[in-house]
């Protein structure tokens, strides 16, 4: 019984939150890694693209609610997603046209593009604050729990409850669908194949008649869609505060680098590695250990490796370890 209780506590405090957070990071890192693969620079504006898209998703959600449209037990934001993606994709294509295309045609050094993306980041950050303000927004609706803690306790007869928030379940399902769709697109469609070819060897791809502008545009649209989905899922699961998305930049970059920049599979693995490490290192293990070990072994500490304030220190340390020991990442990126 105690082992079961410990297992449930582990699921409740580590596995379920880690899985949801990991899915959000994986979607974010996929966007960064795609941009890197095709356009060959680290996009510092990605965090604010997430914030920008989510802001529009929230606006559409409010509008739908005011018209009485809802998705039943699912969050209304899912209905608003396509509209948010459309607005963000249009904006991002606009930035490509106004900002990035010039440097691409000039074949500027990647670092110039990084600096330009920092400029875009500012503009988007300011726009987001103007559009939706700096306050916290809670836009999750529909059913709160997929699995209620009380129902689980009654069903299992265990002392430890297990709660699965519907937002966490939605996150994992949506992320799985997105990843499947993305891989199908990259492996099976003509455009996806040309994207991979362009990413592997630009000159060869151009020689074989691939239209670079089209590849770049499709990449931006996919990256924007992934960013909006990741941002919305994160906002649903936690809550929406525009400045939070700037701090998400570090774990997302870390996930992309750990997996290997330019490798989509690596970005997904990296997302889960970073998320689970953050949760494992900042979780207070006292509850789990309490079921497994005799009480007098425990001492009075929380058995917490790092306080939750240091969450990003975990992703940073993993980033540094990977840079020292295997700079191309797990999946051998660029």
């Amino acid at each position: 019984m105690d082992i079961l209780n410990a297992f449930v506590a582990f699921l409740n405090f580590v596995f379920v939150p880690g899985l949801a957070y990991g899915s959000q990071l994986a979607l974010g890192a996929l966007g960064v890694t795609l941009i890197f693969g095709v356009l060959r620079f680290s996009n510092f504006a990605h965090g604010d693209t997430m914030a920008f898209g989510t802001a529009f998703v929230i606006l559409f959600t409010w509008w739908f609610k005011s018209m009485g449209i809802s998705a039943g037990p699912l969050p209304t934001a899912l209905l608003a997603l396509p509209f948010g993606i459309a607005v963000t994709a249009a904006f991002v294509l606009g930035t490509d046209r106004v900002v990035y295309r010039f440097y691409r045609q000039k074949k500027a050094a990647p670092i110039i593009l990084v600096i330009a993306s920092a400029g875009v980041m500012f503009v988007m950050n300011g726009l987001v604050r103007m559009i939706i303000g700096t306050e916290e927004q809670n836009f999750a609706d529909g059913a709160r729990f997929l699995l209620e803690p009380k129902a689980f306790k009654e069903w299992s007869g265990l002392a430890e409850p297990l709660a699965i928030k519907s937002t966490a379940a939605v996150t994992v399902v949506v992320a799985a669908i997105c990843v499947a769709a993305l891989f199908w697109f990259l492996q099976r469609t003509r455009t996806g194949k040309s994207m991979r070819a362009f990413s592997d060897n630009e000159d060869l791809a151009l020689l074989s008649g691939i239209n670079p502008d089209r590849v770049v545009q499709v990449t931006w649209i996919i990256a924007a869609a992934l960013a909006v989905i990741a941002g919305t899922l994160y906002g649903l699961d936690k809550s929406y505060r525009p400045f939070i998305y700037f701090t998400l930049l570090l774990p997302i970059f870390a996930a992309a680098v750990v997996g290997g920049l330019g490798s989509p599979l690596g970005a997904i693995a990296g997302g889960y590695i970073i998320a689970f490490s953050e949760v494992i290192f900042t979780n207070a293990w006292k509850k789990v250990a309490g079921y497994l070990l005799p009480a007098d072994w425990l001492g009075d500490g929380l058995l917490q490796a790092l306080s939750t304030d240091y969450k990003s220190a975990v992703s940073f340390s993993i980033l540094i370890i990977v840079l020292i020991f295997m700079p191309t990442g797990i999946f051998k990126g660029k």
Binding site: A116, V257, G301, S312
Partner: protein, 434 residues
């Protein structure tokens, strides 16, 4: 015309400060000037990294904060009880961790590659971390338990704040050495990502580690950098009062202005010394080598230059200069407040100064620092007035509060647009590199 470009532009900036002094107040003009001078020094440090070597760091705010930490550790009031309670335990824990990590880095290439090595590393790091926490935790608890409302930290040395300046530079340089050692020599993007992380962690440590500099409770320092006096001391000093009376000035205003003038003088001295040294360095064989590396790494490497080592060197020097400016700023503020270190203000604004002023040109960085520094702060007193005119044409009323909000958000957008415009249309900046 081109030989008059520098004096004309500097004259224009001087005019801006004089106009602010005449039309607003000299106090305001001087406080903007002190910040402008500090920004100019920071911009020079960044210019060394970017303009001389083409290194892009997104962690400038971290160097600024580390410089501030250097000053408070030198100049804050000593807390001997706190230090005795656990100071040495903390030092021991930090040394233990450093030695442990260095051992791992040294052992790694000497071990046989494979899964075994990776697994051993993970186990080793976990054990290392556990032992480190076992040494650190009781020491930290003991230090923070000592008079937590007034101290609760390890205290400073109680020396004059000016002695903290080189220490601040040293701290920033040390952090740059660690980061540079790891991220330089890899893709250029990695330095940008790694510095973003280190800056975030430096700020996190400053906010959360109360034993170090009292975290968000802000740690004050006991002295002003020599020879700047306190205003209250001036106002009772007989020599000062006689001068003030002779000139028919108000003692309070005169003392604040004198203090600010002294700061300006001190900062200008440092700035000019740095410009002189950088110009000498830039026109020496070393400077030519740096520019050769920046312009073509492959051919510089073919000439037998060690590109990564030179990059590391300039990255450390640039960060140390930024740290020096951060130390000077904290000694002027009189306390360290971790909440005030905004990446926007101390990373990206400095970048804009460097690029607007002219990458690779020291005088350009100084000009950019003074000009953008003035603009950034002048928006505070000019912005709402201008905005009020703009929004007065709108059909609905806009409150003062939302006016302030909007002006803060427009500042972000303006900065971004200025960066993008200069980068695209005038990448050489106001004073191009010769």
């Amino acid at each position: 015309m081109s030989q008059y470009r520098t004096p004309i532009l500097f004259g224009g900036v001087a005019l801006l400060f004089i106009l602010t002094g005449v039309l607003q107040s000299w106090n305001l003009s001087l406080s903007i000037l002190t910040m402008g001078l500090l920004s100019a020094i920071m911009a020079m440090g960044v210019n060394m990294q970017w303009g001389y070597a083409g290194l892009f760091s997104t962690g400038i705010v971290g160097s600024v904060a580390l410089g501030g930490l250097g000053v408070v550790l030198v100049a804050a009031k000593p807390a001997p009880e706190g230090l005795a309670a656990g100071g040495w335990g903390i030092v021991a824990a930090l040394i233990f961790a450093a030695v442990g990590i260095v051992a791992a880095v040294l052992a790694w290439p000497r071990m046989k590659p494979g899964r075994m090595r990776a697994a051993l590393l993970v186990v080793y790091l976990i054990v290392l971390f556990w032992v480190y926490r076992t040494i650190l935790d009781p020491a930290v608890t003991a230090v923070e338990a000592n008079d937590p409302t007034r101290a609760g930290n390890i205290g400073g040395l109680g020396w004059n704040a000016i002695l903290g300046w080189p220490v601040g530079a040293l701290f920033a340089g040390l952090a740059a050495w660690i980061i540079g050692k790891i991220a330089l020599g890899l893709r250029t993007d990695y330095l940008a990502i790694a510095t973003l992380g280190i800056a975030e962690i430096v700020l996190m440590v400053l906010k959360n580690e109360d034993w170090l500099a009292r975290g968000v409770k802000n740690l004050g320092i006991e002295s002003r950098p020599w020879p700047v006096p306190y205003e209250v001391d001036l106002q009772v000093a007989p020599w000062f009062l006689t001068i003030v009376q002779d000139w028919g000035l108000n003692p309070t205003t005169a003392s604040t202005i004198l203090v600010k003038l002294l700061y300006c003088g001190l900062f200008t001295l440092v700035l000019l010394a740095l410009v002189w040294m950088s110009e000498r360095a830039l026109h020496s064989p070393w400077g030519r080598m740096m520019r050769a590396i920046r312009d073509n790494e492959v051919s510089a490497a073919a000439m037998g230059k060690n590109v990564t080592r030179r990059h590391l060197q300039i990255f450390i020097i640039g960060s140390a200069v930024v740290g020096l400016a951060g130390a000077m700023m904290t000694s002027m503020d009189g306390q360290i407040s971790p909440g005030s270190y905004q990446p926007l203000r101390y990373t990206f604004l400095i970048w804009i100064m460097v690029i607007v002023g002219g990458s690779g040109n020291n005088w350009g960085s100084v000009l950019g620092g003074l000009l953008i520094g003035w603009l950034y702060l002048a928006v505070e007193f000019l912005g709402p007035g201008i905005l009020r005119h703009v929004v007065s044409v709108l059909p609905f009323p806009v409150t003062e509060d939302s006016l302030k909000d909007i002006s803060a958000h427009t500042r972000l957008i303006t900065l971004g647009v200025v960066l993008l415009m200069v980068l695209r249309f005038s990448p050489k900046g106001l004073l191009p590199e010769r």
